[in-house]
Amino acid sequence: MTVLVDSGTKVVVQGITGHQGTVHTVNMKAFGTAVVAGVTPGKGGSQVEGVPVFDSVDDAVRRTGANASCIFVPAPFAKDALLEAVDAGIRLAVVVTEHIPFHDMLVMYHYARSRGARIIGPNCPGIGAPGKSKVGIIPNVVFRPGRVGVISRSGTLTYEIVNGIKERGLGQSTCLGLGGDPVVGTSFVDALPLFEADPETDLVVLVGEIGGTAEEDAAEYIQRHVSKPVVAYVAGRSAPPGKRMGHAGAIIARGKGTAESKLTALRNAGAQVADFPYEIPDLVAARLGASASR
């Protein structure tokens, strides 16, 4: 295992018969992911793109040995889908679904945590380790195997940055999209130790955005526990307070969550800060060139 997924990861897709579920099943399979099962209640016994569909996650796990779930179930039913997965023994769930009420996510988070299960997301692109496995919706074309780890709160912006790293002639160990919601299952602080411990990662790119204090928390963690170089970018320097900028979590509320506060904290923690996303690949290349760990 690199970070969270590897070639032993066997994925069940919850909501596989929906449009998104089907499209990304195809993409995951094309990436090389072992998509072993799908779940849509009432459609058990059918197939989607050669993947057997079951009525319940429990069925899917028992029959296929699935050990990770990718959830595309619509927001009103996503909480139930996640709890079902956890009860069926799934210990890694990528929740792609957006617009899940945070009150539901609080339940999902604490339920999963008390059972030792990890949630990535919700409202997230998921996780991809080039040459190994991908669980989620990050476009296959942006990946290239390498030694840069990427952790991000954004979706498309991450694709752009990951693609930039590829075009710069570098590659990624694992790319992890945490999701843009106010409550996420895995935060920077939760993800950083995985990359710090990962022997295949030499450097971490951290892509934050306004809202909350996840980047400030990350800065504190980096200062204390991260020895690998960190290149950081935070989107939303020009965003006004009190407005939700696309993501439910991207809002400066009561003076908290500004890009400035985050950038300062990251800089003080020793991270190299990019002013614009297109600067990241060069910063990474320079840092890796200078890095003793390479």
């Binding site: 499209v23 927001a75 009103p76 617009h99 899940i100 009420p101 945070f102 009150h103 609080l106 339940v107 988070y109 604490h110 692109p125 919706i137 990050i138 476009p139 074309v141 942006v142 991000s152 709160r153 954004s154 979706g155 498309t156 912006l157 991450t158 694709y159 752009e160 693609n163 843009g180 106010p182 409550v183 935060s187 892509v207 955005e209 809202g211 909350g212 204090t213 996840a214 928390d217 970018y233 989107a235 939303g236 320097r237 020009s238 965003a239 006004p240 407005k243 939700r244 900028m245 696309g246 993501h247 439910a248 979590g249 991207a250 009561r254 003076g255 002013d275 614009f276 996303p277 297109y278």
Partner: protein, 384 residues
Amino acid sequence: MVKLAEWRGKEIFRSYGIPVPRGAVVRSPEDARKAAESGSVPLPCVVKAQVLAGGRGKGGAVRFADSPAAAAEAAQAILALEFKGEKVREVLLEEKLAIAKELYVSISLDRSRRVPLLMASAQGGVEIETVDDSALLRVEIDPFAGLLAYEKRRVAAALGVSGPVRASLDRLLDQLWIVFQKEDAELVEINPLAIVGDGVIALDAKVIIEDDAAFRHPEFNEVRDDRTPLEEIAREQEIAFVQLDGDIGVIANGAGLTMATLDVLTQYGGRPGVFLDLGGTDDPKKVTQAFLLMAKARPSAVFLNIFGGVTRCDTVALGLVDALKEVPEAERFPLVARIRGNNEARGIEILRAAGVGARTDLKECAQSVVAAAAGRRVAPGARA
């Protein structure tokens, strides 16, 4: 984010058994007079503008009246106000109470700790941000176990209440927690929470309902007071659309990418006027819809920045070309398009065929759109 007006918040509080002053909401001086005359609002009374911004006391948006005529007069004065840019349409009349002390309580979300957070302070009636941390009690609520008795003891101790007042506070806290959960609130805040006689009573009410839980609360569908008309249309069309102070429209896919585009634009001297996140769509009709909405905001210029992933570049191009045909002459705008990623070549080709030049370098595009907006002249993109 559904910010409820004070009177709506209090209506919810009342329905959950949280004590609020007797009062009535009116929309005319005449109704204010009637409310005071009929006794549904006891005199003397407080007359408050029902606006979402804070600081009403200092802004002349809160008055007092001791007769029906005075109530009508106060209502008239307040209804004539435009408070921090917001026209006053509703006025709340409430009995004036003998306040022994003003406290503060709220429940909100602690994003880092992933728990509901109860905050309480003995210093009520002021902006809570100005209260020193040492005077603010924070209690993390377990979402499963709920607000615990020992946690309420901590609150009572911090607020310095005991006896019957404490019993009243305990009941209020229990109900406030239930409101927070049942109503899918982001914030329930009572500031000030007043001690009146042997009990506590919510003098103000700030309730914000979470947008994503709207499907569970159809009763709030009509209550979107703080949105602009275009933002309201966008919400119905499920487009992430935020109106800002500037004049340049930004359309991108993904919240992070859209924000980053705003940042680059600002860096090169542009002033963003619309944030439009297409999200992850592969339906050209959705793209057309978004462009037509953008046109309604009358931007000086528009910056389209797409990184094709789930959203394919050719899909966006097709939608854009359709939109260009439909935008009325008066609403056309200079357009700068940057397209990268999935089906990039095909997208650029489609746009070129429709007379729209598209590039791939973000910096150059930003500079072009700023120039286009400044001069209202057609720069590298085409005039739509």
